[in-house]
């Protein structure tokens, strides 16, 4: 199945810009947002200054037998620091949850060849589910700084509404729902999400794949541009191993350097 190879469009003869490599950074703050959900503030000027919403960083455990990088979306920046928000799901995140202020951690990034595109003015609908919400927090932070945009956030949680107050600092139009009450589609269908029909509507979504697929379909029927932030197990995060592919209309495509944000229409759902 020959196909257009996304990287073929770049100039092959350009000397690449050098990126900072794996490095050790200080832990500034560790805060539990819910039972097993933790916000980690790390100090890294490069990430704080250059990360775009949808991009992620790799964190490495101190355990020398667990070598693989763990990807986490940047959830916000502040001066020389940035935050991530993670759930304790396995041994790596369990170890990260024991970090304390003053500890250090190894990181790489920011990574991700395609971030959320926030250039379009108009209405933005941020639809997040579970641990897909953190990148949307950062998108909302950036959108809040743009006078020509208006952001509505629709957040679905398993139980604890761990990110509502943080989202509200970026946009007053924050709506959320827990599993017991329904899902983000319930909210999408009960809200009037595009109050200004003359304005273009951009949807940014991140969360479980079935949720993003439903949001994509909703976007199709509402004539909205939809950008999805995809998740895949990664081997490196910087494009070298070709482990992180998802099927797209261009074939198997790397989530790390060709994503993690994709136009929802390119994903094979």
């Amino acid at each position: 199945m020959p196909r257009e190879w996304t990287t073929a469009t770049r100039n092959p003869h350009a000397t690449p810009a050098r990126q900072p490599g794996r490095r050790t950074v200080p832990v500034i703050r560790v805060q539990a947002l819910a039972d097993t959900i933790i916000e980690l503030t790390l100090q890294d000027a490069h990430t704080a200054r250059t990360a775009r919403p949808g991009q992620f960083v790799m964190l490495y455990t101190h355990d020398q037998s667990r070598l693989m990088p763990r990807p986490f979306g940047v959830a916000g920046t502040n001066g020389d620091t940035f935050t991530i928000i993670f759930a304790i799901v396995g041994e790596g995140t369990r170890q990260f949850s024991t970090l304390r202020e003053g500890d250090t951690i190894d990181m790489l990034g920011p990574l991700g060849g395609q971030a959320f595109n926030l250039d379009q003015p108009g209405d933005y609908l941020l639809v997040g589910g579970g641990l897909g919400i953190p990148p949307l927090l950062y998108a909302a932070q950036r959108l809040a700084a743009k006078p020509d945009t208006r952001t509505t956030a629709i957040l679905g949680y398993r139980d604890t509404r761990y990110a509502d107050t943080r989202m509200q600092t970026h946009t007053p139009h924050t709506h959320s729902i827990t599993n017991a009450q329904g899902d983000v589609l319930t909210l999408l269908n009960t809200l009037e999400p595009n109050p200004n029909p003359d304005q273009p509507l951009t949807i940014l979504t991140c969360g479980p794949k079935p949720m993003m697929q439903a949001v994509h379909q909703w976007a199709q029927t509402h004539n909205a541009n939809c950008q999805t932030c995809m998740e895949q197990r990664m081997g490196c995060g910087y494009g070298a191993c070709v482990a992180c592919t998802i099927p797209t209309i261009h074939g198997n495509t790397k989530t790390c350097t060709e994503g993690p944000v994709f136009p929802s229409t390119t994903i094979i759902w």
Binding site: M1, P2, R3, W5, T7, A8, R10, P12, H13, A14, T15, P16, A17, R18, Q19, G21, R22, Y60, Q64, S65, R66, L67, M68, P69, L108, Q232, R233, M234, G235, C236, Y238, G239, A240, C241, V242, A243, C244, T245, I246, P247, G251, N252, T257
Partner: protein, 305 residues
Amino acid sequence: MTTYTHSTIVAGIPWKNPVATASGTFLAEASTQYYDVSELGAVTTKGVSPIPWEGNPSPRTAESPSGTVNSVGLQNPGIDHYLANDLPQLKQLGATVITNVAGHTPDDYIQVVKKLDNSPADMLEINVSCPNVNAGGLSIGTDPTTLYNLITDLRKTNQQTNSSSNSPPTVTDITTIAKAATDAGADALSLINTLIGMRINTTTGQPILANTTGGLSGPAILPIGLANVWKVRTALPHTPIIGIGGIHNAHTALEYLYAGANAIEIGATALLNPQAPHTIAQELETLLDQRPALAAKLAAGETWR
């Protein structure tokens, strides 16, 4: 920019230092963001096939103790894209390039190797040991006769480029395989590739990799790679060997050189730290300063054992 004084020669090709990247863990546009590829002994590019391959379904990677299990399945954009993009870029950046060649059938390999005739590639590495494709790869590398015939045909196809055969560790006797490759005209041997492994998700009871099994690499396999290099060096005192498997610092690189390798490649470790090949090359420079006898042998294209 580091100055490297401890060069090596692998099958006639001079390397600035004994450190190369391993195939599948280096991609020009990704890795060149982190270091100057001209500072390595060589870079080995991802297995390239006659036409673009889509590889295996995802997830393709799983963690294991001091290792990683991968089933990329040789996804790559094909030889034409490689010749138009990666290879010229790497040569322009001053790299010594080892082109890793993949195929499902002997004919696949021949097609690729033919297109590489008169290319600027410095060496070819024939991947006969990928555990992640159903046809080709491992099924060739585990059978001495098939391997002999393949390498013989490739030699006829491309007389110009030195080639190394990347032999699998999971055979009953690696020396038989190694001899088949060199008898057929392989100029060097790349030892070892990954070992077949898998992990299971204990919540679902299902394999983590979509392809069930994958190739285990990383520090976990270090002792296995060393033993294979040692054994083949004992059986074939004069064949150039590139040592691969689990190298994660300059000291473990040194172990391979003492085991009889002429040079080494760094795989999984580069995935966990993009600059690792460069850092290891620098640190090895210092360790070789302290070992003039070994350094002299390598510089002369000879080996410690």
